[in-house]
């Protein structure tokens, strides 16, 4: 597959035609009037704790893995001592439990997590009036099983990420690409609307015929159609920092092992612009899956990540490789944070109004521990986070962090998230 710059520029016209609303000041907006955004950045297979967690404090010293984020040190909030307690309930293998619990705060119930994921829960409020409720992108996730899914629309309803930057771009910026004539655009819109209506009526008819059985799939289908209808009617005008990303995707095959980093960067570019254009307020990027086979020859790591993550504690070579991998992921994160920081909003930047959460399914790969899972928040979420610190919570269930995240994003009444058994209260001390 190859993408030309022109194709993307075609998409630019499309975005103009689709129309991008000027940034609306909402009640989930900040004091400065700009909305809050949430980005989840997932990497798998645990970390090397001593190379990730700084000594807690207000003026902490950067660890080797966090070194690439040096420039944004005052925007970091490193969270130590959080456990995926909910993943120790229920059934399943360790990677399956971990992925399921990470964003839902629920254990597995049957094959899938028992609740909605925090990003979707937040998106339902903060992104309600945006063309896209949320944007889920992935890099070589490849599979569709329990250890490959972290986003859930509801209990038992996992959401797949889009793994192709080209398709992600087309879906977000190229809605009605190439149509410059407003009448033509209107006509296409009417056409799409009538197609969606047709799908809706058949779904309703089938639901009646089935009489209440097997409704979940049909309900999810119906929700999807409703979302697509909303995407059709989005209107406005792009301006300011909003420009569809210029992506040079020539020769980048989203599934080729060599493209891993390039695909990730393109997906991050797309997320950046979807946020800058206020097309959505919630996004996520999932790198690989719970047993990531990815090797990183470009940094001298020739073995697969999951295999390496089972290196023993005294295996210096193995652990060095793991630190290298995590450091490489931190570089990708720094690339993204740099883009947010360089996007002006009011007197500050997009980063000031965003919280990026770097998360992982495990704390430690070799024993599948879900304790001391590395969480890192970046950005101020409109002044709701006091950054530039490292905190040790000393072993609290991570559901508490998920509940705090809801509060930080403006769902201030949140008392709990996920399975309440593992969430006595939101965390204190983040703000």
């Amino acid at each position: 597959m190859s993408l030309s710059r022109r194709m993307f520029l075609g998409g630019l016209a499309g975005a103009a035609a689709l129309g991008v609303a000027p940034i609306v000041r909402m009640r989930t907006a900040n004091a400065n009037g700009f909305p809050r955004r949430l980005v989840v950045f997932f990497t798998p297979n645990g970390t090397i704790a001593r190379d990730f967690f700084p000594t807690p404090g207000d003026d902490f010293a950067l660890t080797p893995i966090l070194e690439p984020l040096r420039q944004y040190k005052d925007k970091l909030l490193v969270l130590d001592g959080l456990d995926l307690e909910s993943s120790y309930a229920g059934g399943g293998g360790p990677h399956q439990r971990a992925l399921a619990s990470l964003l839902t705060g629920y254990e597995l119930i049957g094959q899938w997590a028992g609740g909605v994921s925090v990003d979707q829960h937040i998106a339902a409020t903060v992104s309600k009036d945006r063309p896209f409720k949320s944007v889920e992108l992935g890099v070589q996730v490849r599979f569709a099983n329990t250890m490959s899914r972290m986003i859930y629309a509801a209990a038992g309803q996992p959401m797949p990420p889009q793994e192709s930057p080209k398709l992600a771009f087309d879906a977000i910026f190229g809605q009605i690409a190439g149509q410059k004539d407003p009448l033509g655009v209107e006509k296409l819109r009417r056409q799409r609307k009538s197609l969606l209506d047709s799908v809706t009526s058949e779904l309703a008819a089938i639901k009646r015929e089935l009489g209440g059985q097997e409704r979940e799939m049909l309900d999810t289908h119906l929700d999807a159609v409703r979302m697509m209808e909303k995407e059709l009617t989005a209107s406005g005008d792009p301006g300011g920092a909003c420009k569809p990303p210029e992506i040079n995707a020539v020769g980048v095959d989203p599934l080729s092992p060599q493209s891993y980093g390039d695909v990730g960067k393109q997906q991050l570019d797309i997320i950046h612009m979807a946020l800058a254009c206020d097309l959505t307020r919630v996004a996520s990027l999932q790198w690989s899956h719970g047993e990531s086979p990815v090797s990183f020859p470009w940094i001298g790591v020739n073995s697969g990540h999951h295999g390496l993550s089972h290196s023993g504690d005294t295996n210096v070579a193995g652990n060095t490789s793991l630190t290298k991998i995590m450091t490489w992921y931190a570089e990708q994160l720094a690339y993204f944070v740099g883009k947010l920081a360089a996007t002006p909003e009011g007197n500050g930047s997009l980063l000031d109004n965003t919280v990026v959460m770097w998360c992982n399914d495990l704390g430690k790969g070799n024993n599948h521990s879900r304790r001391r899972v590395p969480f890192l928040l970046i950005g101020n979420a409109g002044g709701n986070l006091r950054t530039g610190r490292a905190i040790d919570f000393g072993g609290k269930p991570h559901n508490q962090l998920l509940a705090s995240l809801c509060q930080v994003m403006g769902l201030e009444d949140t008392k709990t998230f996920g399975n309440p058994l593992f969430c006595p209260a939101p965390l204190t001390g983040l703000g």
Partner: protein, 558 residues
């Protein structure tokens, strides 16, 4: 019920000492007392609603409008079972349906879709344009019957006609309006979902079950007519029809699809190996490996004796020039380098599927072989014994073997830890027997300067416990095992029903195995037996979603 309960209790306490499902005879007489036209067992149940997998959707559009859509742009289907299942849906998928339907409706040859559109000379001219509302209605009724796999009901037709009228009223040409209706039909939930129909329309469901299983595609008009005339009502008719369909060229696709998934051949599409360890390994070589296995399976099932034994021990294979060089086989300079040629194998070195480079490379690490993965495949997909999930928070972390040791010794080291050993002893000693083949499937006599030890052993099996030496020896043992035979029945059952077997299916599985055994392990007879079970299955609203076992399968390994 009492027996089920006991079976469940036994499974719950078994752990690694007795693997889940390890008895190979488990499940008791769990078929209940019902009977059907063809057998002694109660009908197997299936969910009332299932989504077409992306592969099935692709085949459906190909059959209906002759357009091949790119389903790699679709989110993959859940593969926890070992086979793709359409048990969930998502916004991303719904958008892909819309995009695929748009492309297919644009590219379709309307004249083939519905005859009355064939001679449409110009768009929307009053004279000579044969497309009108009557033609639209004809398309909805005749094409819709195939697209929705049953006669189109009046209210459904009326809604589609309304779509046509609105498009024309909106100033679209008749042809464009017709294509719009086609586009709606190609993304209609009536096409995308397979519903098990109530008694009156049951025959249509049966036709669709048979065709998606045996052809990987929707029923054609002949099959729908047969269903309508009551030709799929009785067990004997169904078995007869299944044989006819299996003999049809269209069954090639479905057979290849089973083996592609069972052997995880798609992993070769994006496999990567460490350049330093395996210089020269590239995607072209991986593609040659995939072709070898596809050609071999095709030969055995479509031209050969169809026996499981031949798949496991066959003394021949198919290699193109690239793979021949990889294996060190001479195909002769006069042969076309890009075609896979049949070659005889040195029986002491290679025999059957388990010595294919595809299998060996997929079940290996990037920079070494993997006794674990190879043993795991045998344990899970040939013996149908599920390995329990790795323990949570194992007390000790793995030892750090000396990297200069041969693979076998390093993995043996790893098994010294008792908490690892209990499960790894079920995989690794089988995998050690594969050590003659490196991470890309090349034969070797030494590793790290030491001669290869290819002795292996099987424990905790029903009828295979004991030592073996090398894969050809292992393959011979597997080929004669009743446990392996029974496992193949289960694998085909899972593929057909999109779910794992339970105690309630034990009777049906036992009957199918009898037929398979009576045919001396001829897979074609097994496929007919499974097709019959599928056709006679009962839709069950109370059944959980097709791929929802009580907890995720340990097959859920990437």
């Amino acid at each position: 019920m009492h027996k089920h309960l006991i079976a469940i209790l036994v499974l719950a306490v078994s752990g690694c000492q007795g693997i889940v499902g390890g008895s190979g005879n488990g499940g008791g007489s769990g078929g209940g007392t019902g009977s059907t036209s063809s057998g002694l067992c109660a009908p197997v149940t299936m969910p009332a609603l299932a989504r077409l997998t992306r592969t099935q959707y692709q085949a459906t559009l190909r059959d209906l409008v002759g357009v091949d859509i790119d389903v790699t742009t679709f989110p993959p289907d859940d593969d926890s079972l070992g086979f793709a299942v359409g048990a969930t849906t998502s916004a991303l998928l719904v958008k892909r349906y819309a995009a695929a339907a748009e492309t297919a409706a644009k590219q379709a040859d309307l004249g083939t879709v519905v005859g009355c559109a064939a001679s449409a000379p110009q768009k929307n001219t009053p004279q000579g344009n044969t497309i009108d509302e009557k033609c639209a209605r004809e398309m909805i009724v005749s094409f819709g019957r195939r697209a929705f796999r049953e006669p189109v009901k009046q209210d459904v037709a009326d809604r589609l006609i309304k779509l046509y009228r609105e498009a024309v009223a909106d100033g679209q040409s008749a042809e464009d309006a017709l294509r719009l209706v086609l586009r709606a039909m190609l993304q209609s939930p009536r096409l995308v979902y397979r519903r098990q129909r109530p008694e009156k329309q049951r025959a249509y469901s049966v036709a669709a079950r048979l065709s998606y299983f045996l052809w990987g595609a929707p029923p054609d008009e002949a099959l729908l007519s047969l269903a309508e005339k009551g030709g799929l009502d009785k067990g004997e008719q169904i078995a007869q029809q299944a044989r006819v369909m299996l003999a049809d060229k269209r069954a090639d696709r479905a057979i290849a699809d089973f083996f592609r998934q069972w052997l995880q051949l798609d992993r070769l599409d994006a496999i990567s190996k460490d350049e330093n360890t395996y210089p020269g390994f590239d995607s072209a070589l991986a593609a040659s490996m995939k072709r070898e296995t596809e050609a071999f399976v095709h030969e055995v099932l479509r031209s050969g004796d169809g026996k499981l034994r031949t798949l496991l021990t066959g003394g021949y294979t198919f290699v193109d020039a690239r793979l021949a060089a990889h294996y060190g086989i001479d195909i002769g300079a006069d042969k076309s380098p890009s075609v896979a040629h049949r070659v005889e194998l040195d029986a002491s070195r290679r025999a059957g599927l388990l010595t294919h480079a595809s299998f060996l490379a997929i079940n290996a690490n990037t920079d070494q072989s993997s006794p674990i993965r190879r043993g795991k495949f045998v344990r899970e997909r040939l013996l149908c014994q599920d390995l329990p999930a790795p323990p949570d928070n194992v007390a000790a972390t793995p030892p750090d073997p000396d990297p200069s040791l041969p693979t076998r010794q390093r993995f043996e080291e790893h098994r010294k830890d008792p908490s690892c050993k209990s499960c790894h002893q079920l995989m690794d000693p089988i995998g050690f027997g594969f050590e003659r083949y490196d991470g890309v499937g090349r034969y070797r006599d030494t590793e790290a300067g030491k001669p290869i030890d290819d002795s292996g052993s099987l424990v905790d099996t029903v009828d295979l416990d004991g030592d073996f030496r090398g894969v050809p020896d292992l393959a011979k043992k597997l080929a004669e095992s009743a446990q392996v035979q029974r496992c193949m029945v289960k694998q085909w059952f899972r593929y057909a029903f999109g779910r794992r077997e339970s105690g309630f299916d034990a009777c049906a599985i036992r009957e199918a195995q009898k037929r398979f055994a009576a045919a001396d392990g001829d897979l074609r007879e097994l496929i007919v037996a499974i097709a019959t079970l599928l056709a006679e299955a009962d839709a069950s609203g109370s059944d959980p979603a097709p791929s929802s076992p009580s907890s995720p399968s340990s097959n859920d390994k990437n």
